[in-house]
Amino acid sequence: MMRHCEIRKLEPSELPQAADALLSALGDTPSAHGRMQFAYASALPDGTLQVSYLLSQGAGKPYGLWRVKPDDGRLPSLANKLPLLGWYEREMMDLYGLQFEGHPEPYPLVLHEGFAPDAPPMLAPFDRQGKTLSGHAMPPTVPSIIGEDIQRLPFGPVRADVVESAQFLFFYIGEGILHYHPRLFYKHRAMEARFQKADLRTGSVLAERVSGIDSVSHALAYAQAVEAALGWRAPRRARYLRVILSELERLYNHLHYLGHLSKTTTLKVAEAEGLLLEEKLKQINAILTGSRFLRGLVVPGGLRRDLDVSKLAAGLDALEREIDLYMERLETTASYLDRLQTTGVLPRQVAFDEGATGPVERASGLDRDLRRDHPYAGYGRLNFTVSVQSAGDAHARALVRMDEIRQSRQLIRLALGCLEPGPVLRTEAVETPDPDGEGLGWAEGVRGGLLYAVHLDDARTRLARVKIKEPSFSNWRVFPFTVQDSNMMDYAINEASFGLSVAGVDR
């Protein structure tokens, strides 16, 4: 069974007890480490379904994995005990037709109201030529909110500016927001289903196209999951090059983030400077890899080809002062700080219970980072500091990212120093392959913890089931808790401060 995991087989009736035991083990304050991560369904060889719950049990410790066979398609819902499971359970209801009894919000999530399929789509093999779902858009299920002065504003899915499609429903009085409901999954592309029967190389191409601005993190988590299943280990040079690629991805994304945050706080010049710095990073990416998004390199076993890193350090050094001055100026701009401080506060407990990840959770005082807690690629031998803030507001989320920009540069320098000539691809087992052909892989992406659970077919050459735990899926669930009871003027700033991807959550 899955490497890096301690498995526990449970009966459906034992699930609530197991959840209670997990909660009491955590105690009164949210532990910095142990937490439920995600849940997913998969088909066993005999066609029956099993549901897997993955838990992190703390830094350096193996993951916990609960496995349950639903009783006639039914399981008790754990969403009331472990709220972050609420969306995963609804996803399994939509795509696998499972029922979670006692679910507090038993409504469609991934497949919108009005688009109900004849049969749950993940129960049948993925058919590219198959019929596309059709339907007429129906309003989402929201709480009944009645009052004379309450305005209802549906915004999207086609919104102003060049943005990803999603609909935001606001119920508000004057400036005050009473209720906020993001309707996501307009961009659901059945990405997990596309991995079925794909070969291992195609899997990398698909992983890079789940969320384009997170291409490296996806390809890396996927590749490491396949390597865990097959007992492969990427060569040393490839492991450090993977660190460099991951941190370059963080750099251009975080600079974009600062430019976008400046835009929402109406700092035109700071917006232009941030986006120009992002562009310069993307051009560095292209010179290094041939792709502005660093695509086409990370595959199971290492990298598809070696990289010439001789110009990289000079390119980054040339930008260092510019980036530092930019961040310094932002941090001394009163109008910018005024808009960020105390805006969109995410309390630590909510961040923990609802599953916040990445810079969002670290800005709310949760000190977790997969690069340090479960080291992968070359991170185990590289010294860096995990940035944590406690205020939980938009400013704290920006501060965490600014510090990560500095840490990323440092990590790239350290990784460059560890590079020695050698092969970058090794596609043979150096450890015992997983007997069931299953593997778990992870990466601390730009937006947080990203995990891939991969099940290979009997021949171990193709994919049978791939589950993606996407950081934006986690953070989009958390985000509304910071919007309720805030005001309309702060909304755009707050949303920008979360740095969310829609393609990632929708998959």
């Binding site: 384009g212 120009l276 598809r304």
Partner: protein
């Protein structure tokens, strides 16, 4: 408190001057080139490229050399790695916008298209307003569209603007393979646009489905859904490629790809 305007002016113009060779895409790989004369499939029935292609962009008809459809190609370059005869090779061909989808296919029917601009489009002179709709992209295309507004590309200098309202838009620019849920909002946006109006399919998802089209959740791009005036494949097309395609629509740049071949 910093005086941002002063810092802005001091840092000078970031946009390369008009006509400059610096398009900002040094090193960027484009879609692969196919030299069908080198392909040995007709003799040895090799079909490694088609088997490796994750997007069904390559076909090997019996007794013929391989054929490539750029409209479906995501530029993963796997074909260039598996091809034993060197027929597929890496390239920096990314300015791939065309008016006729068949021009993206190496075995496409060559048609004499009306190359002269319609009187309507010419009347727009040098200004164009775009309504972008994300119909299910991976957000790579959005990232590059947003880049058009950074100081390096500064799209406004060309008289081209994004507009929030479809009522003010001349061009509908679509990314993504068109998901089930985005089909209706996309078509309603198009219906809300005043005539004359144009449509551009941007990125391989929109031009032919790519790796992400089809299945229960997606259509296969814009073909059959909307009348497309410009097809620009690429995964994603880089900002310079997008600018080339927009200027091509306005008659300010020539089309570079014909019959699946880059160059004249």
């Amino acid at each position: 408190m910093p005086i941002w305007s002063w810092f802005g002016i001091k840092s000078g113009i970031a946009t390369p001057p008009e006509g400059s060779e610096n398009h900002g895409q040094e090193g960027v790989l484009g879609l692969p080139r196919l030299d069908a004369a080198k392909c040995t499939a007709a003799q040895d029935r090799c079909s490694d490229c088609a088997a490796a292609c994750p997007a069904d962009a390559i076909t090997v008809p019996p007794g013929q050399p391989a054929a490539l459809d750029y409209a479906r190609c995501v530029g993963c370059q796997l074909c260039t790695e598996v091809c034993p005869s060197g027929a597929f090779s890496l390239s920096h061909d990314w300015a791939l916008g065309v008016r006729d989808r068949a021009d993206l296919q190496t075995n496409g029917a060559t048609r004499e298209l009306e190359t002269a601009l319609t009187a309507e489009l010419a009347a727009f002179g040098r200004s164009l307003h775009i309504r972008h709709v994300d119909a299910g992209s991976c957000n790579g295309c959005e990232s590059e569209l947003q880049a058009l507004l950074n100081p390096f590309y500064n799209l406004h200098r060309l008289g081209i603007f994004f507009t929030p309202s479809p009522r003010f838009a001349d061009l509908l620019l679509v990314t993504g393979p068109v998901t089930a849920a985005m089909r209706e909002p996309l078509l309603r946006t198009w219906e809300a646009m005043p005539q004359p109006r144009w449509v551009m399919a941007l990125g391989t998802c929109a031009t032919g489905g790519g790796t992400n089209g089809g299945g229960y959740a997606c259509h296969d791009g814009l073909e059959g859904l909307l009348p497309v005036d410009v097809w620009l494949p690429g995964c994603p097309p880089n900002p310079a490629a997008i600018i080339e395609a927009l200027l091509m629509l306005l008659g300010r740049r020539p089309q570079i790809v014909h019959g699946g071949r880059h160059g004249s």
